[in-house]
C-alpha cells in the first residue's frame, strides 16, 4: 500500500534520518552525528580529568562486553597517533561456564582488529579455582555470604590491579559508563561507605591513604559521562561484536539500584547525570574529610597485596 505521510520522519540537525532521540538534550541524531558526539564527549572527559599524561602505559580491562569493547575502540583511535603512550588490553577469565568462554574470542578478535596486544589471566591460574568452583564450595556452607558478585568483585578488583601493576601499567582503563557510576554513588550512599565514595571519581586513586597507595594502579573511566544505552547503541552502530549475554550470577543490590535508576530515568530524563554531577561537586568535600582521617594501607600478611586490614578481603574470602 502506498503511503502519503504529511509529517516527515524526525531528522538530525545535519538533515539525515535520525536513529536516536537524546531525551535529556531534546535532540534527534543520525548515526554519524551520534557516534561523533559520543567520541567528542569521551575526549572531553579525558581532557577534563587529565586522565592521560605523557609517558603513560595504559592497561585496558577488556571483558568482551559492550562497555570495555567500546572504550578500547574509542581510546585506541585517540591513543594510536600518540607516540608517547603505550597501551595493551587484558581479560580476566573468572571461569563462568557458558559465559566467559563466549566473550574471550570476541575480546581477542577486537584486539587483533585494532592491533592491540592482548593478555588473558584466569582465576583458576591465579587463585587456584574458578568462580563456578568457588560458588559450589560456598553453597555447601549455608552460613557464609552466598552472593557470587561479592566473591567475584573482590577477586576481579585484585586481579585487575595486580596484573596491571605486574605489566608495569601506570593507568588502568575501565569501561564504566554513566549508569555504573550513578549506581556506585547510590550504593556507597545506601551502605554509608564514605571511604569508598572518597576514592570514586573519573580517576580513582588512593592518594588519601597514609601509605601503601602506590600499590594501586590509578583507574580511569573515559565513558563515565556516556549513558549505558548510548554505549550500547554506539557499539551496534560501529558494528562491534560484543557479548550480549547477562552473567548467570548477576544478582545483588547493584541490580536493584540499576532498575531503580532506569525507572526514574524513564520518567525524568537526566536523573543519572544529576546523580553524577552532584557527586562530583560534593567529592572535594568528602575527600577533604578523609584527608584528615587518612586510612592506613598495610600489606596483607598472606599475599603481600595492599589492604586496610591485616588480612586482605581476597585472602579472607578465597583462600
Amino acid at each position: 500500500m502506498q503511503k502519503v505521510a504529511l509529517a516527515e520522519p524526525a531528522r538530525c540537525k545535519c538533515g539525515d534520518k535520525a536513529v536516536y532521540f537524546r531525551r535529556y538534550e531534546g535532540q534527534y541524531l543520525c548515526a554519524k552525528c551520534f557516534c561523533d558526539s559520543v567520541e567528542k564527549r569521551v575526549k572531553r572527559t579525558v581532557r577534563q580529568f587529565n586522565m592521560i599524561r605523557p609517558g603513560d602505559k595504559i592497561a585496558f580491562g577488556l571483558s568482551g562486553g559492550k562497555d570495555s569493547s567500546t572504550v578500547l575502540y574509542i581510546m585506541s583511535r585517540i591513543l594510536k597517533p600518540r607516540k608517547d603512550i603505550e597501551f595493551f588490553a587484558f581479560t580476566i577469565n573468572e571461569g563462568i561456564h557458558d559465559y566467559r568462554e563466549k566473550s574471550i574470542p570476541i575480546a581477542k578478535a577486537l584486539c587483533k582488529k585494532l592491533g592491540v596486544k592482548h593478555y588473558i589471566f584466569s582465576y583458576k591460574q591465579s587463585l587456584g579455582k574458578t568462580l563456578d568452583q568457588k560458588m559450589q564450595e560456598v553453597r555447601e556452607k549455608p552460613n557464609i555470604i552466598q552472593t557470587a558478585c561479592a566473591y567475584c568483585g573482590v577477586a576481579r578488583r585484585y586481579m585487575l590491579n595486580k596484573k596491571a601493576r605486574d605489566l608495569k601499567a601506570t593507568k588502568l582503563c575501565l569501561g564504566h559508563n554513566l549508569d555504573d557510576e550513578a549506581q556506585s554513588i547510590l550504593m556507597n550512599y545506601i551502605r554509608g561507605d564514605m571511604a569508598k565514595a572518597s576514592r570514586m571519581g573519573a580517576v580513582t586513586d588512593y592518594s588519601t591513604a597514609k601509605s601503601g597507595g602506590e600499590k594501586f594502579v590509578p583507574r580511569i573511566k573515559p565513558l563515565r559521562s556516556i549513558p549505558e544505552k548510548e554505549v550500547g547503541l554506539y557499539a551496534v552502530l560501529k558494528g562491534l561484536e560484543v557479548q550480549e549475554d547477562e552473567c548467570p550470577y548477576a544478582d545483588g543490590i547493584r541490580f536493584e539500584v540499576r532498575d531503580f535508576l532506569n525507572n526514574l530515568e524513564a520518567k525524568h530524563s537526566g536523573i543519572k547525570f544529576s546523580v553524577l554531577e552532584t557527586f562530583d561537586r560534593m567529592r572535594p568535600i568528602i575527600r577533604e574529610l578523609f584527608e584528615k582521617q587518612k586510612i592506613e594501607i598495610t600489606l596483607c600478611k598472606n599475599c603481600g597485596e595492599p589492604s586496610s586490614q591485616e588480612v586482605c578481603k581476597l585472602c579472607e574470602m578465597w583462600r
Binding site: 524526525a10 532521540f21 552473567c247
Partner: protein, 140 residues
C-alpha cells in the same frame, strides 16, 4: 477510537488502483481546538476523499489542542525481546515508546531495530511492523 469511515467503504471506490493512506500526524498540529471542530475536519476530509477515487483514508490523526491524538483504527505490531515474540494491538501510528510501554519494557534498557534499521523512541510504527528490542543493560 472507531474509524469514522471504514476502510472497506473506500476500498470499494478503488477500481483496482493502488490505495493511498492519508495521514495527518500529531506533529502537523491541525489548528482545531475542540473535538467538535475535529469532527468537522474529518467530514471535510471525507468529502475530499470521496471526490478522489485513488485515495483511501484509513489512518487519520488530528491533534486537538496540541495534546491529544484522535486516532482512527488499530494496528498490530510484533515485538521480539529476549528471544520471545509478542503481538500487540495499539492505536494506529503509535510511536515505539508506546509499544515498549505496552510490552512493559523500560526504554532505557533497550535499543530498537525495525528490520536492519535502528529506530528512535518517537518513530511511528505501522500495521504489521515487526520490531526487535535489543537489551543493552549489562549484568556482569
Amino acid at each position: 477510537m472507531q474509524s469514522l469511515f471504514g476502510k472497506k467503504s473506500f476500498d470499494s471506490n478503488l477500481d483496482g488502483q493502488s490505495p493511498l493512506v492519508f495521514e495527518i500526524r500529531p506533529n502537523s498540529r491541525a489548528p482545531y481546538h475542540s473535538a467538535t471542530l475535529a469532527l468537522d475536519y474529518y467530514m471535510f476530509l471525507y468529502i475530499i476523499c470521496c471526490c478522489s477515487n485513488n485515495i483511501v483514508a484509513t489512518d487519520i490523526f488530528i491533534n486537538v489542542n496540541g495534546d491529544e491524538d484522535f486516532q482512527l483504527g488499530n494496528m498490530q505490531v510484533t515485538v521480539q525481546y529476549l528471544g520471545k515474540e509478542a503481538r500487540l494491538e495499539l492505536p494506529d501510528n503509535s510511536p515505539v515508546a508506546e509499544v515498549l510501554k505496552k510490552a512493559k519494557i523500560n526504554p532505557e534498557t533497550v535499543i530498537v531495530r525495525r528490520g536492519e534499521d535502528i529506530i528512535h523512541e518517537n518513530e511511528r510504527l505501522s500495521d504489521n511492523d515487526k520490531i526487535q528490542a535489543i537489551r543493552i543493560v549489562s549484568g556482569g
